[in-house]
Symmetry: D2
Subunit: 315 residues, 4 copies
Amino acid sequence: MDAANTGESYSYLGPAGTFTEAALKQVPEAAGKPWRPVNNVGEALADVTSGRSVAAIIAIENSVDGGVGATLDALATMPGVRIVGEYLVPVNFVLVARPGTTLAEVRTINAHPVAYAQCRGWLERELPAHGHLPATSNVQAAAALFEDASADAAIAPPGITEHLELDVLARDIGDNPNAVTRFVLVSASRRIPDRTGADKTSLIVELPSDEPGALLAMLEQFSTRGVNMSQLQSRPIGDALGRYRFVIDLDGHLTDERVADALLGLRRTSPNVIFLGSYPRADRREVEYPSRFDDAVFIEARDWLRGLITGEPGA
Amino acid sequence: MDAANTGESYSYLGPAGTFTEAALKQVPEAAGKPWRPVNNVGEALADVTSGRSVAAIIAIENSVDGGVGATLDALATMPGVRIVGEYLVPVNFVLVARPGTTLAEVRTINAHPVAYAQCRGWLERELPAHGHLPATSNVQAAAALFEDASADAAIAPPGITEHLELDVLARDIGDNPNAVTRFVLVSASRRIPDRTGADKTSLIVELPSDEPGALLAMLEQFSTRGVNMSQLQSRPIGDALGRYRFVIDLDGHLTDERVADALLGLRRTSPNVIFLGSYPRADRREVEYPSRFDDAVFIEARDWLRGLITGEPGA
Amino acid sequence: MDAANTGESYSYLGPAGTFTEAALKQVPEAAGKPWRPVNNVGEALADVTSGRSVAAIIAIENSVDGGVGATLDALATMPGVRIVGEYLVPVNFVLVARPGTTLAEVRTINAHPVAYAQCRGWLERELPAHGHLPATSNVQAAAALFEDASADAAIAPPGITEHLELDVLARDIGDNPNAVTRFVLVSASRRIPDRTGADKTSLIVELPSDEPGALLAMLEQFSTRGVNMSQLQSRPIGDALGRYRFVIDLDGHLTDERVADALLGLRRTSPNVIFLGSYPRADRREVEYPSRFDDAVFIEARDWLRGLITGEPGA
Amino acid sequence: MDAANTGESYSYLGPAGTFTEAALKQVPEAAGKPWRPVNNVGEALADVTSGRSVAAIIAIENSVDGGVGATLDALATMPGVRIVGEYLVPVNFVLVARPGTTLAEVRTINAHPVAYAQCRGWLERELPAHGHLPATSNVQAAAALFEDASADAAIAPPGITEHLELDVLARDIGDNPNAVTRFVLVSASRRIPDRTGADKTSLIVELPSDEPGALLAMLEQFSTRGVNMSQLQSRPIGDALGRYRFVIDLDGHLTDERVADALLGLRRTSPNVIFLGSYPRADRREVEYPSRFDDAVFIEARDWLRGLITGEPGA
């Protein structure tokens, strides 16, 4: 767990004990390699593009709070990184306090804003008069309890008690028992992971400005090829109100004919398409699509067209 | 004008004097070659597929009466022919009679049904009590005046008096002064005429049966590539009511990237696509389309995709 | 069977023995009323608009030859008529000749062009050397055998032998054993037949000229309301090549909410929509559509919108 | 500036000095009324629904960071509020410190995460080694400088020096000089502000689950009526990954026929449509749309349809 062997290391949002570290534990190739904690997604991507780390794991979407803006914006503006894997971490929270504290004594709660938002229902019910002190990470919130008395309790991941001597005042305080955070592993390699049949392709697409119907035209590039979107997130481009880019996850791999053909269509109609990667889905669920969009159908059509152009008798 | 030199001849719907012959006069390569009159479009196509004629000219659409059903159905069901040229003939009619006949004496009019339909307004106005005797061709209608007295007058093309000794009772009796018939030259050659920039591509497309939205999906194959349709004709497939094939003319040539890509899309989604040919438009009007569908845009997108797949650093 | 009681009569394309008469026999309200044979569809419609007949029956589509151009064009250009019923007549043909004639002796065949086209396969197989003499109706073709010897045989409906003393040389000579002709009953009444749940609505729609995608936009008016088209026929408007109107049959009745809403959309986007009528389908098959397009869904949405506008608390 | 006169007050995210207070200063009807600072958007909306305040102003979108998740989620889940006005506040930041501090001495910066994100470029350039301490509001970040020494400087709105005795170390440190935040005024009134011709309509729409093409179908409800979207934000519904609702701003007013008709279409096809309000645009720019979607076109079509149904002779 030391970054000494630079170039082999894996970067993650630290410190130890975060959900990001839990995600990294799922990455087989990271086992036994040095893990490098960083402070934000920009640092994580910079580690990758500079070669300081072989890969980095970053949170990209939360089932409760949506796309992680900082990650999506960083992927849109930092060229040279590719997503090569996807990992899901169930999100569970405990309320922890310095030993001896009781729930009735809790006035102020230290918590990362996203974690805080996911526990709001429980907090309003159980501690209606509480105050909130924001923290930079879920682990830092707990650790700060030892630094000063500005907070009485903290919201933290369940694994926190492996690292810190804290009392658990309540478990499973998240409002949604199925909450999950999606992480992606990014690297600087141009090699695309092999097609597995259970793949995802991630893109960032800008639309031609001031063309009514441009979004519709973009979505038709997928629908006319039987390509399903599992995610569509709008993010402001940032230069003016009302200008968006779209972060899209497709079912399928770049080397699936229907996906490749949809990408051709996108590239032709969009002023900017960023290919973020094709990689195995975390849930390994096989992609389903109508059989009329099979690879063989695309190949047969190309052969037919070639025959027409060259004048082969069979065409 | 004799079909002795078999294999070099051009077939047309005879006899001499028909509008079809007028169309054939516009075909430069037919000048000086033997012309072979035939009785119907089936014979004309059979001449071409058997090698009896090098090409045949057939009427495909009339501005008043629409697509010529027999031609469209023959093209849909007789494989092995290709359209290689397009010719327009203005449609004008005269009312002719045996020498000495006056308009007031006309009771029964011999006329091909399509010609008759195009003069109905004039006839109802000038000869409200007339009867109609149908003929197999415009020229045959006139020629029949000499065979028996079953008709008093005939509707015929203006050039008829070059061939037959008849009196012209009235000129320009067609209801639409701009009426025009579109003819196509068909051959058995698999070689597609070169792209001129003012081209047309003709197709016959069947839709997947009982899929609501199938026609919409077909048309989107064109609209998403900026390909304009100049003609869309539905024709019954013939096996049951409500089953149609569509005869389509596109602006552009098979070797235009946007047309080729639309054909790929069609081929993938349609159970049957018949490519009838790409050929210069009769009016030589250059094809217009949005510049975002230029060939270069398609080529750039393919290069980009190839770079992604092979992992080139630039992509 | 006499047109004496003018104003109560039913017009049909005569003479007695035609398929049109067979269709009229299916019309319950025509039983016992005078039937008035006419020569063409224009006469039939004029009988209706002038009040000479209470209704007329006309052929609108043939499963082999497609839409009947004269009928579709007449409906598009003669205002004041409405379709009030639909009837199907199986199309079967016999080859008849003067008594004593054998099949081997047949050289020339008298036949209406549409009937001739539907028997072409049989004729080419059995009588490859035959000639064709066109007739104005299937019955006239048979009757003409007695007038002169210009033809040796005629193609006619099976019922012809009830009217004429002819030998049947061959039965069921049509190429398609399932061939059927669709007839419609038209009247001048503005009263729309009641909704039965198994209804059809017929329209003629023109597109805004020179707007690419106009056809697509028209079809979307139906698809976005779950309205299925059972027929789409293009007909030339007649003023110039490439200008079409579309004859459309929809599943459903004008008083079905989804159909009414689609008509509103059409009316807004089309320069010309002709409502030809809503009437029970000949096959009495109930219309199927996704339940999300039920009348109740449209009504609920209108109530919701009204609540929003008036500021009702419930909305 | 006191909430004594309950029921007349305006709630805003406090304390005094925030951008939200700057937005409230733009609201004419709030002048001279008590202003009530609250801690978060949930409190602000609760003030409105409980009648504690007559209205509340809340940030809904930032040109750099996108939709304000907490606001969008609160509007989606707290019924009974309506947007009645829109206000834009340019976003400018200063770096402030306790008197006597120099830029070179700054190690740790206190800042609200959104403000911090908008200054990241300047910070990485000028203070590459800094640390970040998150604050709950831009004003609280500055105020905390007097509470303890955990931070050396704070990011704050330019107006902060009117309230606090601080040194300005740098001005205009935001990365985007055109950054702007969009605020909306919400109330519990069901009365919709009158149409001005320069209006916006805000909606939250859920899609039928697991229907491919559902988003496309939703967008077609707008495009087929010429209704332009100025905003489309996806937000997780929160129950599972991949399930989104869409927050949409339309050009136009609920009483514009084309907008009303699009809402009907949405209501019919979406399992849940929340109407957030129609209100004048902050920029007062008149809505432009194709004239074929004028109110008169909708009204004429309805009259035509009514005529068909009732059988009026004119229709």
